[in-house]
Amino acid sequence: MVNIQLPDASLVKEYVAGNEDALAKLIKRHESKIYGFIYSKIPDRDITNDIFQDTFIKVIKTLKSNSYNEEGKFLPWVMRISHNLVVDHYRKTKKMPMFRETEEFSIFSIMSDNSLTIENKIISEQVQMDLKKLIEGLPADQKEVLVMRMYQDMSFKEISEITGVSINTALGRMRYALMNLRKVIDKHQIVLTN
């Protein structure tokens, strides 16, 4: 059976016109990306759920008051809202975003890698941990772009829209991030293989 997927812009129009199911579809379509994005900044499930909720409350209010005018750019718009809420969260708690290796994260690393043997699982975890530590050492702007691209699977267009820089700047930051990672890996002769 062929499944025809309505574009975001059409679902937004339907929702504004009063079709509540359209919102459910939009949330379902993007929940993983948005939730993952917030969680990558704040590795706490409860806070991430709160920010996800606040993000969509803003989305709902904006759409219901007919104030939305970014047709065709629904996801970057929602991502930008969640990004701003993450910044607000850190302003309130006066903490800088940090990636910490938590028990929860390790569990997910194992769960998503069911096909691997135990030995390979351990190696894979170690590689991921090593890589995360290396990424931690990058300058904040490079780290942000690299995480969005590699961990959130965003396009450079989306990254540029969320971070407020040009696509070329985002590309440049990604390039420098990879160059810096390679430098550190070469310097310390780290082996990242599975």
Partner: protein
Amino acid sequence: MAKTYSKKSLFSQVMKPSKETISFLLGYSQALTIIKIENKSFEIISN
């Protein structure tokens, strides 16, 4: 290196908001009505 970087995220694929959060949002959306009168907007939450 390229092989390692080309791997997809381990957590972004499985991360989802709680059912309660989604349920709240859909309920909130159904209950919310926004009325604009001149420059002011009024939010009405129906039970």
